[in-house]
Symmetry: C2
Subunit: 318 residues, 2 copies
């Protein structure tokens, strides 16, 4: 099942069920995705009954499938990315067998085709392509093994990041606030069964194609996560109940052979340049530039649809 | 104006207006505090018209005045506390002229008399007495001077903390997730005018009386913040729009003469013990223990009412 949310002028939008080919939709028998998540057993059964899709779907009409959430906890589960970022930021992290995770802004997720406003190009504007899961209510202390059963939906996320601010905030120990403005989501939230064999051990085993200004920048596979999403969920729930609709992120998708397949964020490429050439060569994004992200399977099918966003000045967007 | 929220079985509760003496209330002409915050000009005018308080108020019926929020950003604006915590945690932070801030769980704030469940006493269960403000929608890039005008309500918060987890999470650079479970709020959210002269330069200039198991533990004054709340709001809004109902915290209230007046959290007392005696002497909380927090003015009046909570085992609370 693939779900999406139409912009309708409200903050939560209007839930729709999307056809198998992604080209059409039906209004859902539940008003919003948050409503569905809060009574998933009953609502998902209703949603599954939708079999006719009378309306043509224009992705530009779409909000994020979950346009706001009560909680967004983003991990950093790809070891090859973490190691590089530490190198480029000059961070020496403690060794830990636990996932890395911070809490980010969840009061708004941009839609897949929204322009994204920033105050200043000097902030080091960067995209981060990643995957996420949306969970049901998870009780405090749930084990990783049990956490898998609470994963309701899988999404594809662009975690906008401001690199000039990221290093200094990280060094305070308090984590990121200014360096992590609102994220965006690709059009469709999908149930795990939609991914078939590509959902394995709590990992989205798809290539995430990332294009910067129309040119391929990376195609890393989500299967390389050092922790599965069930382990990230259990980490998040260790000392708190998770509310239904909590979104848990993977962190930037990255593979150890990034020199061949590229990266899902500019900072990683800059890290490689620091390692290989002594200094970063690639500049961050400027106003007017675009990024496109689309996870595809071996047959070229894109379960989450494509996200395509343009960076704009906050002044021009007012 | 003092506002509170009655438990009514819903997540947002039922907004009430509280009498000047705190002993009675009237149902508000707006259903929830979040509703009021999203249309403050119109709603606050309606709320101000309430002049009769027919119902006796039992504080035990109360939820947090804002039982959940779309965003909770907690500062650490008391320098005497920050310096001590760095010492006890072995943290060497970079020098910065910016406020410290992290994003915490906002999907639930405990009510002022709720028992608070934790999984294990070994996690280092600690309270943190602090103040907070609830803001209207704040545009990205708002200056500190302009931010003052967006502060709608002031609250008193108990920021529950798990110290065993705090140091290691801080050293990852990602900030706190497991170390910061849900917070609690004292009964009443008040408009700034309610504090009269005690609201000065974006600071709540009241003593925060903290009693642990019925014994006075601290009475630090909120006026000692190194940054005013307007500066914390501007910091939070530097790269993101803040949604109406965002809660911004001061961090643990602390004064430089903490050896005389005590502390608003156990970790600070332990820090003093490390400095003065070479090791911490005071243990963290155990199940069954209580903490009470009440900010009072010179006349002994408590604008926010009193918060009193008991620590329980998550197993006994199921």
């Amino acid at each position: 099942m693939r779900l999406a949310t139409l912009c309708d002028g409200t903050r939560d939008g209007r839930l729709i069920v999307v056809s198998p080919d992604g080209a059409a939709y039906a209004p859902a028998p539940v008003a919003t995705l948050q409503d569905a998540l809060e009574d998933w057993a009953a609502c998902s059964a209703q949603l599954e009954t939708v079999g006719e899709f009378p309306e043509p779907l224009d992705p530009v009409q779409l909000a994020a499938p979950l346009p706001r959430a009560w909680q967004w906890l983003d991990g950093s589960a790809f070891q090859s990315h973490g190691d590089l970022m530490d190198a480029v930021l000059g961070i020496t992290k403690i060794q830990t067998h636990l996932p890395l995770m911070y809490q980010g802004a969840s009061d708004k997720f941009y839609g897949p085709y929204d322009d994204v406003p920033f105050g200043d190009e000097a902030l080091g504007i960067d995209f981060e392509g990643e995957f996420g899961v949306i969970v049901d209510a998870v009780p405090m202390g749930t084990s990783a093994a049990d956490a898998m059963a609470y994963i309701r939906l899988i999404v594809q996320i662009n975690d906008w990041s401001l690199r000039t601010l990221a290093g200094p905030e990280m060094k305070t120990g308090f984590g990121w606030v200014q360096a992590k403005p609102h994220c965006a989501m690709a059009p469709f939230a999908v149930t795990p069964d939609e991914l078939g064999d590509q959902w394995r051990d709590g990992r989205v085993c798809l290539d995430l194609n990332v294009d910067w200004n129309g040119k391929r920048f990376g195609a890393a596979n989500g299967g390389a996560m050092g922790f599965g999403f069930h382990e990230l969920v259990a980490h998040a729930a260790r000392t708190r109940d998770l509310v239904a609709g909590t979104v848990i992120g993977s962190g930037t998708v990255s593979n150890a052979n990034f020199r061949e397949i590229g990266s899902s964020c500019i900072a990683e490429r800059r890290g490689i340049e620091v390692l290989d050439q002594g200094e970063p060569k690639t500049a961050f994004m400027t106003f007017g530039e675009t990024v496109r992200m689309e996870a595809v399977d071996a047959a070229g099918r894109a379960p989450f649809g494509a996200l395509e966003q343009r960076v704009v000045s906050v002044r021009s967007s007012l």
